[in-house]
């Protein structure tokens, strides 16, 4: 049962990804992306890494994509990029992607990662994760806050720049 669900979500996320390449309107592309993201969250849940599944839904679907959809709604529908989907790199781009997938899947299918089975099926619970994060990895906690600070200032700067650009 679990295996069947896993396969279902794998195929669903793959289909969502492929749809993103062919859909015309950005809104539909966004919906395809959201379905992929939700499928991935489901996969994480099946794997038992609930923390990440929750993050995936909260941060990606909840924040990022909502923001994105909001942006799409403000756009001009007559934009030529809505009707012409592809740039001049269509064929080389697709060919490159196909080569990439074939090379990686063929290469990786043969080799077993060294880390396989080292600690099978460990789940990350919120509590041990938070403890580890704040004890052993607090450097990253600090750095993340600097990063977020920079991002906030950057966002403000862009918004202010818009005001100046309009005036």
């Amino acid at each position: 049962m679990q295996q069947a669900l896993l396969w279902f979500f794998v195929l669903a996320s793959l289909a969502g990804g492929l749809l993103m390449l062919v859909l015309r309107h950005p809104m539909r592309v966004a919906l395809a992306l959201i379905s992929t993201m939700v499928s991935l969250a489901a996969i994480y849940a099946i794997l038992g890494v609930h923390v990440i599944a929750v993050f995936q839904v909260l941060i990606y679907v909840g924040a990022v994509m909502v923001f994105m959809v909001y942006a799409i709604m403000l756009l001009d529908v007559r934009d030529p990029s809505f009707t012409h989907r592809y740039s001049g790199y269509l064929l080389p781009g697709l060919a490159g992607a196909v080569v990439l997938v074939v090379a990686f899947v063929r290469g990786l299918a043969g080799s077993t990662p060294a880390v396989m089975g080292a600690g099978v099926g460990t789940t990350f619970d919120v509590q041990p994760f938070s403890v580890a994060f704040l004890n052993d990895y607090w450097l990253y906690f600090e750095l993340t806050s600097v990063l977020l600070l920079a991002a906030v200032v950057a966002a403000i700067a862009i918004l202010k720049a818009r005001r100046r650009g309009n005036g």
Binding site: I59, P80, A109, T144, A154
Partner: protein
């Protein structure tokens, strides 16, 4: 093909699809979403491998990726709005007029 390999293959496929999207699509917003797809593929691979190895570091990295992705979007969306507000197109090919 066991589950790990299946998921690694899926993550590579999502990464490649996203990359292809960044290269072939014309709309900058769609390109942005394709880039997000690449990141999602990467997260899948990270989660799969670090879960296999029971690595806390991997989980921390996944968390960092989420934060960074959110920060990137926090910068990208205002830029998109800025473009839309100024009635400039989101067409990639429209920006190539300065190419030389």
């Amino acid at each position: 093909m066991d589950n790990t390999q299946l998921l690694l293959a899926l993550s590579t496929a999502l990464f490649a699809i996203g990359l292809a999207g960044v290269v072939i699509r014309r709309n900058l917003l769609v390109m942005l979403m394709c880039m997000e797809l690449m990141l999602n593929g990467v997260v899948l691979s990270l989660v799969t491998l670090s879960q296999q190895a029971a690595s806390t570091t991997g989980a921390v990295l996944v968390f960092l990726v989420f934060v960074v992705a959110a920060a990137e979007i926090a910068i990208a969306v205002p830029i998109v709005l800025l473009l839309a507000r100024r009635k400039r197109t989101l067409d990639m090919d429209a920006f190539t007029d300065l190419k030389g």
